[in-house]
């Protein structure tokens, strides 16, 4: 806390406050009340796309990483191919391929069109969610491969020597340590994932980026919506970083502090 009282910090803070005040008074914000509900909805959509795709992607990344780190080649090779393809192609392309490819393939099957799922499959968000999930899975599958390998063999051997069944070794020794090892990486990757979400605006999913574009088109105001957009993304990134710091702090301490 004391650190904040140093002169250069105080000056920087004052400049920051002045900047915010200037933005608030000198720029045009009269459109805000009208678009606020829409923006809230957009933020909400961005957040759940991010949370769901990260969780589902991670759930896929674990078997993908495990298959590559320890699986027989019939599992390792396809997992490796998947990660390579996902990481080697632009996310925008994946989104479009899923939306325009799958999205135009599905209606050709009457049983899909008549199923209860059709009202959902007709919308854009399932394809956005799927593309973001697969993308996250591809990157994190590679990360998890390294994470599984980084757990010292001796610790797994000790578990084996004590008669732990294989699944127990995985869930209680191997996976927890692998995930713990990549928590710092994972935080950064989640921020990257967040910054990839605006791409789904290209297939008509109205998340926060799409809303700000909409404001610009409607009102011809350019900077203000973009500025607000930047603030929103920074706030989300901050939340993600805090969340991961908190998870890291609450977990077991694997090395003495300060080392």
């Amino acid at each position: 806390m004391r650190d904040w009282l140093q002169p250069h910090r105080i000056i920087l803070a004052l400049i920051g406050v002045a900047l915010v005040l200037w933005c608030a008074t000198q720029m045009r914000w009269d459109w805000l009340p009208k678009y606020a509900p829409m923006m809230a909805e957009g933020i909400w959509r961005t957040v759940w796309l991010l949370v769901l795709s990260s969780l589902l992607g991670m759930a896929l990344a674990i078997p993908l990483g495990l298959a590559q780190a320890a699986g027989p080649w019939v599992l390792a090779a396809p997992a490796r191919a998947f990660c390579t393809v996902i990481r080697g192609t632009p996310l925008l392309l994946q989104i479009w391929l899923l939306y325009y490819g799958l999205g135009s393939l599905f209606p050709q099957f009457p049983w899909i069109r008549e199923s209860d799922l059709w009202p959902i499959l007709r919308q854009a968000w399932p394809y956005a969610l799927l593309a973001l999930t697969l993308s996250f899975a591809g990157y994190e599958g590679e990360v998890m491969r390294g994470a599984f390998r980084s757990v010292p063999r001796g610790q797994l051997e000790a578990a084996r020597a004590m008669g732990m069944p294989r699944l127990k070794i995985l869930t209680r020794i191997w996976l927890p340590q692998a995930v713990r090892n990549v928590l710092p990486t994972l935080g950064g990757e989640t921020v990257l994932q967040m910054k990839a979400t605006p791409l789904v605006a290209t297939i008509t999913v109205v998340e926060i980026y799409a809303v700000s574009s909409r404001v610009r088109q409607d009102t011809f105001i350019i900077y203000e919506p973009l500025l607000l957009l930047a603030v929103v993304y920074m706030a989300l990134a901050g939340l993600i970083v805090l969340l991961f710091r908190w998870i890291e702090r609450t977990g077991p301490q694997t090395r003495p502090a300060g080392r």
């Binding site: 010292p152 001796g154 610790q155 000790a158 020597a161 004590m162 077991p252």
Partner: protein
């Protein structure tokens, strides 16, 4: 070559571990070429031999951390069922047998994401489904025995090597094993930490625990062992009571080995 069969004076207690005709190759490298070993209950068998003579390999074949190329392992009268390729045929059986053989490694191998106490009760509680309170009581008294009562809630990274190894021994004991397998338990330790670990092992020997101890500590082996095996060239070159093996070694290789380790 191989010395005469074990002296008849050895224990008449029930057999704890019997190894017969154990062979093990890694690719073209034949590490074990037919090793026999019998440990009766209460025996302390010290296994000595040069680096690369296959001591660890033999120990690891006993609980099937390595798959024997040939030979059989019998634990407390129960042969480990094997497939034709040598691997354990019955997962349940081998898991049960491993639970009855407490293994202690050179590198301790504590689970670094769990506290010392959680290391001890992990398998009793989460695999054997013992009541947590009961396992915790047992773990705490074991930790007190090895002098680590105050470290129960520490993570392994905060312990010295000697403390980690004592915790690893307590973890093995917490399974209430029928026999213990030690693979050079003090080789990774700074010299000043060796004593505290040997003291724990000495106490275990004194209370009549069955153990097989691979070690480079010749003085210690002579002191605690009831029987010593010298491995060389993939075979048991010489074996017998410690006084005879260390006092009057017969084979030239053992004589030379003992000279080289001082």
């Amino acid at each position: 070559m191989t010395e005469a069969a074990p002296a008849p004076s050895r224990s008449a207690a029930p057999e704890a571990i019997r190894v017969t005709g154990l062979r093990k190759s890694f690719g073209p490298l034949e590490v074990l070429k037919g090793v026999d070993l019998t440990a009766h209950e209460g025996d302390v068998i010290a296994v000595i031999g040069g680096s690369g003579s296959g001591k660890s390999t033999m120990l690891r074949c006993i609980n099937f951390l390595e798959t024997p190329s040939a030979g059989t392992i019998t634990i407390a009268g129960e042969p480990v069922r094997q497939r034709p390729d040598g691997t354990a045929a019955d997962r349940r059986q081998i898991e049960r047998i491993r639970q009855s053989l407490g293994m202690v490694f050179q590198q301790f191998n504590l689970w670094t994401h769990k506290t010392v106490l959680d290391n001890l009760i992990e398998v009793p509680v989460h695999v054997l489904h013992q009541p947590k309170a009961e396992a915790t009581d047992r773990a705490m008294s074991l930790l007190a025995r090895v002098g680590l009562a105050d470290k129960a809630h520490s993570y392994p990274a905060f312990l010295s090597g000697g403390q980690q190894q004592r915790a690893a021994i307590a973890r093995a004991l917490c399974m209430e094993p029928k026999a213990m397998l030690f693979d050079e338990p003090t080789s990774a330790l700074d010299p000043e930490l060796v004593g505290e670990v040997l003291a724990v092992i000495r106490a275990l020997a004194a209370e009549g625990r069955t153990m097989i101890l691979v070690t480079h500590e010749m003085k210690f082996a002579r002191e605690v062992a009831s029987h010593v095996m010298f491995l060389a060239g993939g075979l048991v070159e010489e074996e017998g009571p410690p006084d005879r093996l260390f006092g009057a070694p017969q084979s030239p290789r053992l004589q030379q080995f003992l000279r080289s380790v001082g």
